[in-house]
Amino acid sequence: MMEIIVKLDDMLHARRMTLTELAEKVDITLANLSILKTGKAKAIRFSTLASICEALDCQPGDVLGFGEPAE
């Protein structure tokens, strides 16, 4: 089943940033970011996506993708 996959891990690695640092920068709780990173989130607000893109200086497509979920 194809689905939306979150590539936050790769982006964080590329920017040499930890999840905690990102949480501080975008003002989202670490718990919520973890939910997003582990692919357990059912939906993402545009505002959340915008903050993440701003903090990581990237496009939504850099953080999100569509494909087979990695096991």
């Binding site: 357990k40 989130a41 059912k42």
Partner: protein, 179 residues
Amino acid sequence: MANKHHLFLITGWALNAAMLISLALTAVLVLAFGVCALAGAGLIHLPIPLEDLKDIKDVPLTLVFLAGAVACASGVFLLALLTLMLLMTGRIVKSADQDPFVEDNARRLMQIGWLLVAMQAVGLGAGMIMALFPKPVRDHVQAGFDFSPVGLLAVLLIFVLAQIFRRGAQMRDELEGTV
């Protein structure tokens, strides 16, 4: 916010008090049912002042006690259902302080709806049984009620509310997964 908390607290207390009263009344009615049944079977003799029975002196006393037993039994059933309903309502009110939009509350509302249906059925049944007794007896012993449109409306409203709560629980679930 504080007012809302007080409202839930006071409602919870009122429901608990109503439940206690309902249970006490149930006990009294169970006792009354026992007395009526025993007296109806002729196992005990109740001293009843004759002047009170002027208009039912042609009717066998057994019939009066039987009617009393039916009335008490229907009362016990109604109160038992009412107690269950108060218990469910109490649980919903308790959850209202934290998060009322859970599947449990939808289920509880459905159960309250069915309890209301059962209460209507018991009341109707008791009313139909009482109609079998002769008029003088019915003048003295009253139980049950006729079909009530308001009761039916209440049942429908509760069922609709249950569905609203179910939808609320689904929306809450979705919101939980939103970051």
